[in-house]
Subunit: 213 residues, 2 copies
């Protein structure tokens, strides 16, 4: 017996194991032990299914979150949760992160973030702008980092080697700035820049809030 939940869970597992290109109605049907067309009893189209997957990722990211009342800490926590949640399912994140679902869990997240900003004292117009920048920045980094994680292991280490090989060996005469910072670059580019970028965004938001008062 199939169900929307079972199909979404199977799809996430399928994509996690076999990569993004495995998410087809036909392979999904095989994984479910059912005919591909059976999926259409529960989802209007593959796009509909994709939105359900996106919604599930949002739900998992928000699960168990509690506001502390400190707007900066709360926003930071939500950002890190979104980023971590999508990175946990890189292939699915690549497909789903840029979709607007308009469903309950997404709405709950929007309401929570807007609430944090407005309660903190941001004027409505400013709260909306910061909300938008915050969410898209989180999703953008999530997609980028997920894409790196979704690469085959060989391509992943090749990307990493570029910083130690190509960049570290550039001539100081033609590329003085890279030459001067090559060791720092090699160390930093292996990690995600999301945390630092998030703190920069929160710094800027805090400064604007102080200036508005």
């Amino acid at each position: 017996m199939l169900s929307r939940e079972l199909i979404v869970d199977t799809a996430l597992r399928l994509v996690g194991q076999q990569g993004a290109e495995a998410l087809t109605v036909r392979r999904l049907g095989t994984a479910l032990g059912a005919d591909p067309s059976a999926v259409y009893r529960y989802f209007h189209s593959t796009d509909d299914l994709l939105l359900a997957i996106a919604e599930e990722l949002i739900a998992r990211a928000q699960d168990g979150w509690q506001a502390t009342g400190n707007w900066r800490a709360d926003l930071r926590e939500i950002g890190l949760r979104i980023h971590a949640g999508y990175r946990a399912h890189p292939q699915a994140a690549l497909l789903a992160a840029h979709r607007t679902t308009g469903r309950t869990h997404e709405i709950a997240a929007v309401e929570a973030i807007l609430g944090i900003l407005r309660t903190a004292g941001f004027p409505d117009r400013e709260a909306v702008r910061i909300y938008h920048a915050f969410v898209d920045q989180s999703l953008g980094f999530a997609v980028l980092d997920a894409a790196a994680l979704a690469l085959p292991a060989a391509a992943q280490s090749a990307d990493q080697r570029v910083w130690h090989a190509s960049y570290a060996r550039l001539d100081a005469g033609t590329h003085p700035h890279i030459a001067a910072t090559a060791h720092l670059l090699a160390a930093d580019m292996g990690r995600s820049a999301y945390q630092f970028a998030l703190d920069l965004l929160l710094d800027a938001a805090e400064a604007r809030l102080a200036a508005a008062r």
Copy 2:
């Protein structure tokens, strides 16, 4: 008589005119007045073709850029160029934005950005961190916005409609913050948040530079 250049140019024109979903070997063949399979005489696969398109994009984005000496203005200009360049060709951006090529155009960009930051007075470690956050933020937003543009027209307008339909009709009792800002949300979510996010990042960087002195 076909050629790699002619095919790449035709592909870019095709996508510019008919949208992301027009980039198929069959339609490309039709646009070239040739059999679809003729493309394979010049490119090993469609992925190969897309990489060639991506290279072309990098070249075009950098073309004609000049430093002014104002670090903030220079960084802003580079960010906007990257973002606009990728957004102009969404489907290629989706495939190319997260790859580290280590080729001449990419190296030139890295050197330029690091140079701007170090010349402005950022210490090396800080310059590298800001470089990383700046680049990944620009690429992240580019991917996200490109993905939205690469959607079929139907899905695109559906995403847009969500903000006017679902969100604008939520009850003020259960979702007070969304209800209070629904009109602002609908207006803001139709645009890219990149410019605002970029300005926030530059604000924060400027504050850190001032604090370090």
